[in-house]
C-alpha cells in the first residue's frame, strides 16, 4: 500500500491468513466508522453553515437530507456514530486494563455490535417523523 515499498516480506496485519474473529471485526469497524464519521462532521458543519446562511439555504439542505439518498446517508452516519461511540467505551476501558482478556473482549464485541444496532433503530424510530416535518418547511 505504501508508495515505493519494495520489501518482499509480508506486511502486518497479514489479514489474508488470519481467521476472522469478532474482535478483529470490531477493530476494523471502529476505524471504518471513524473515517465515515469524517463525512458526518462535514454534514453537521454544513448544517450549521446553512442555518447561519438563512432559511432558504437551510431548507435547500433539508430537502437534500430528506431525500432517500439523504436519509440513507443519515442512517449510515447514525449507525457509524452509535457503533463508534459504544465501541470507544470498550477501548477506553481497555486503557484502564478492564475487560482486556480474550473471553471478555469477545463477549463485549458482540454486545457492542448488538447495542449499536438497537441504539440506531431507537434513534430512527423516535426521530424519523421529524424528517418529513422539515421537508415541508416546519
Amino acid at each position: 500500500m505504501s508508495t515505493g515499498w519494495s520489501d518482499p516480506r509480508p506486511l502486518s496485519p497479514f489479514t489474508s491468513v488470519w481467521r476472522w474473529h469478532v474482535t478483529m471485526v470490531t477493530s476494523i469497524l471502529h476505524r471504518a466508522s471513524g473515517v465515515a464519521l469524517y463525512g458526518g462532521v462535514f454534514v453537521l458543519v454544513a448544517w450549521l453553515a446553512a442555518a447561519a446562511e438563512g432559511p432558504k439555504a437551510y431548507m435547500k439542505l433539508m430537502a437534500v437530507m430528506a431525500s432517500w439518498p439523504g436519509r440513507a446517508l443519515l442512517f449510515g452516519f447514525t449507525l457509524a456514530l452509535s457503533f463508534h461511540l459504544l465501541n470507544g467505551v470498550r477501548y477506553l476501558l481497555w486503557d484502564k486494563g478492564i475487560g482486556y482478556d480474550k473471553e471478555t473482549a469477545d463477549r463485549t464485541a458482540w454486545v457492542v455490535i448488538i447495542l449499536a444496532a438497537i441504539l440506531t433503530l431507537a434513534i430512527w424510530v423516535t426521530a424519523y417523523w421529524s424528517l418529513d416535518l422539515l421537508k415541508v418547511g416546519g
Binding site: 500500500m1 450549521l48 461511540l85
Partner: protein, 123 residues
C-alpha cells in the same frame, strides 16, 4: 547522576510524545458526554423547524454545547484519520494527506465557529 532532558520530558524521537494518545482519549471522554447531550437537544429543536433550530443555536447553552461538540469532534477526527493515513500512505502522499487532513479539520472548525457567532449575534 544526571537525568537526561529527553527522559524528563518523555517526548521520544518524534518530539511529540504522548500528546496524540492523550488528546484522542480526552476528546473521546468529552464526546461521550457531549454527543448524547447534543443529539437530544438537536432532535428536540428539529420539531420546531428552522426558527426552533435558530433559537436553540442562538441560546447560550445551545451555542456552548454545539461549540464544544464540534471542537471535540474536529480534534478527535483529525487525530484518528491521521493514524489511518500514517498506516496506509507513505512518502510525499502521506505528507500531502496529513496536511489536507489538518486543513480540513481546521476549516470545518472555523466555519462552525463563524456560523455559531453569526447565529448568536448576526440576527
Amino acid at each position: 547522576m544526571r537525568t537526561s532532558y529527553k527522559n524528563v520530558t518523555g517526548l521520544g524521537a518524534a518530539h511529540k510524545g504522548v500528546g496524540h494518545f492523550i488528546k484522542q482519549r480526552v476528546t473521546a471522554l468529552a464526546l461521550l458526554i457531549l454527543i448524547p447531550l447534543f443529539l437530544f437537544q438537536f432532535l428536540s429543536s428539529f420539531t420546531s423547524g428552522y426558527n426552533g433550530v435558530m433559537a436553540w443555536l442562538g441560546s447560550p447553552f445551545g451555542a456552548a454545547v454545539t461549540f464544544l461538540v464540534v471542537s471535540a469532534m474536529v480534534v478527535h477526527m483529525r487525530l484518528g484519520v491521521q493514524t489511518a493515513i500514517e498506516d496506509y500512505f507513505g512518502g510525499s502522499l502521506r505528507k500531502i494527506a496529513l496536511m489536507l487532513n489538518g486543513l480540513f479539520a481546521l476549516g470545518l472548525w472555523l466555519i462552525a465557529v463563524y456560523a455559531l457567532i453569526k447565529i448568536s449575534f448576526g440576527g
